[in-house]
Symmetry: C2
């Protein structure tokens, strides 16, 4: 089975909005074992939309549209589908009642044009919308399936997950189970090189590497008759990856690096303080991204100036003078100072040259020092990063979190 | 003239990456007065790619492809274009020399497959790439224009702006000049409502509102014979917008809020210190995003715990006890403490409930207090934000920067 995605809306063609729905749907369809060979964007124009349907159904069994189900005259997805399949649009009373209920519960009067949203091509299946007025529609005819989903992601994502995916899984007859192994501290080509034999030999489960921002993810997918069977098929492959990559694997599935670090800190009953220079809060901000951060994160300082490094963290003026603000010596004193001045158990620091200015022959743009103070000792690493200011800052924070994670794991 | 955009890459069809290039190109083409009726995504497959070219050229004068210009066998954009136009691929010596130079400057040995990137369809125009090895290509034949651009946005965006846009402008015979007015502190529908008469009456120049993350942008575009003429046509509209929106307009074109705040601080020779709680570094990180931040940004603290608020900033335990950590009183003491303990002239603070936990009936998720200490007085505002944790944090930082900007503007 293969599918095509047609995003409908002139605002997409004007570049006013980003077509994130196509990415979401493609990924979900891949997970269901349904191939996607084309995605199309077309505006709110009946003839061009009709032509897009003709082309798509000439190539695919399933066409999924997003958008164009609103109450205005510009919304033509459903009307054009009815024309394409030669069906009448008929009033769906249940949907009409649901829409009226939404309006009255908000104390609003329904306007006439909203009645249009309750019109459904004859014989089609209605996919109720828990998060908006426009229902989704599944229309099956002549061995073809057309699925129309509202455009707003907060309506589309739950509707696809709860209603469309089960319908498609039923038709594909297979269950696809995926696990993601998340790695940090290893480059994509190196990671890929070390599993080349597994990739070459793969049939079911499959293994696919993805480069994520400063991480590498392996997605393992098994196709089988049931979820349990699929998970059992993935287990040996997971064990093999743990054998090969060990601590480079920091978590599975949707667990983030910051969540992993917070968990390790909490397990060891430790409190963290950060001290940042060039990253200017990117590190602390990533930690605080994790809702559980408050249990372990005590305090952060952004000592952007030398004065602040001295006043806030007690970095010695001689150290700054002799080795410079960007040095492992300063990184160590920042980490120690962060822990000492805040009363935290662990201090984590970053100091570096994020560019575009401030680099020198001796300390070029991209030179970053990361310090950790924990368990009565401190250590620092030097890294040399490529890219623009944002990339260097984001990457520095990622490496610092990974450095802390490894320190916590190897407390010995 | 109308154009189509074809994004090439199986990774798009698997949902591994987001097609942000299509949005960028659509917006830029709209700005050039070139209509886009369809966007397509297709994988790294020669036959499907060929078919996508046929369909696109059946509908449009100009086809712009993104991606598929890399050195691997999967990269087929150029090869398929050569086949479509019946051209040979020939070695472009200048490009070959440029690629060799890139490798040798990085101390790397060029691998054989990179030679493929210097092959160009006979008679095509090469668009040199300042940020990568793959050149862009412009191929003109039979009244059709094909433009191939590398996929990475950091290569695509400068190549389009510097090389492709001027070529297209030349062919469209008109010059399009755009100015963006950037507003903060006003909602999209309210902003749009206040220019409805201008939108309804627009012909040339045109005015289009865009909702950006916590900002509203108005894009003014004039079509004329020359850049100077276009700019002169835009001036009266700009003046009208300044009259209507005043200080809600914080900058023009690509000048960011953080750059505006840093400029105002530098002009008044002031140094800034920040104190954050729920935002956890998002505010400082945005300021440090601006390369000129080091001239004005002295110090930041992320006093996530009450202990840190007391120890780092001298917030009174009684204040925390009596009013709570999320209160205007605490925000004021954080702002004062940030300035006092760092020796900065201006202190800016944020404390709030970012969620998902920690809310109460009295202080629900989304309640945020922002404090400013400047020119011998301090003031705080309360805001109540909607959205998830990330949105509340990002929005809090945006409002804090705007609050500081207005404080600096109204020093008088």
């Amino acid at each position: 089975m293969n599918a095509e995605i047609i995003a409908v809306g002139t605002e997409l063609l004007l570049g006013d909005i980003l077509n994130s729905n196509a990415q979401y749907l493609s990924r979900e369809l891949a997970g269901l074992g349904i191939g996607v060979y084309y995605q199309t964007c077309v505006g709110d124009n009946a003839d061009r939309l009709f032509s897009a349907y003709e082309i798509a159904f000439g190539r695919a069994d399933i066409v999924i549209t997003t958008g164009g189900l609103g109450p205005t005259e510009d919304d033509l997805t459903k009307e054009t589908a009815a024309r394409y399949f030669g069906r009448e649009l008929v009033m769906h009373d249940e949907t009409m009642a649901r829409i009226e209920e939404i309006f009255s519960s908000q104390g609003l009067t329904m306007i006439e044009s909203n009645r249009k949203q309750a019109l459904i091509p004859e014989g089609a299946q209605v996919l109720p919308n828990d998060n908006g007025t426009a229902p989704g529609i599944l229309l099956e005819a002549d061995g073809k399936i057309m699925i129309m989903i509202p455009g707003p992601p907060n309506e589309l994502i739950p509707m696809f997950g709860k209603q469309v995916a089960p319908e498609l899984a039923k038709r594909s007859g297979q269950t696809f189970v995926s696990t993601v192994m998340r790695l940090c501290g290893i480059g994509e080509s190196s990671a890929e090189g070390r599993i080349k034999d597994l990739i070459d030999a793969q049939t079911n489960p499959t293994i696919a590497p993805y480069a994520k921002s400063f991480e590498v993810h392996f997605r393992l997918t098994a196709a089988s008759g049931s979820r349990e069977e699929g998970l059992a098929m993935i287990e040996p492959l997971k064990a093999e990856l743990y054998k090969r990559f060990g601590q480079d694997i920091y978590a599975e599935d949707s667990t983030t690096m910051e969540a992993t670090v917070c968990r390790l800190m909490a397990e060891q009953n430790l409190k963290l303080a950060t001290a940042e220079s060039c990253t200017g809060g990117v590190l602390a901000s990533r930690i605080v991204d994790h809702p559980g951060a408050s249990a372990v994160f005590l305090d952060g300082t952004i000592t952007y100036s030398n004065d602040a490094k001295i006043a806030r963290l007690g970095v010695k003026p001689e150290t700054l003078e002799k080795f410079g603000a960007v040095s492992s010596e300063t990184a160590l004193e920042m980490a120690e100072g962060a822990a000492r001045t805040s009363g935290a158990d662990v201090g984590l620091s970053i100091t570096g040259v994020a560019g575009p200015d401030g680099g020198s022959d001796e300390k070029p743009v991209g030179r970053v020092y990361i310090g950790v103070q924990a368990f009565g000792k401190s250590s620092a690493i030097e890294v040399n990063l490529k890219g623009d200011r944002d990339k260097i800052r984001a990457r520095s924070a990622a490496i610092a979190l990974d450095f802390l994670r490894r320190t916590l794991l190897n407390r010995g």
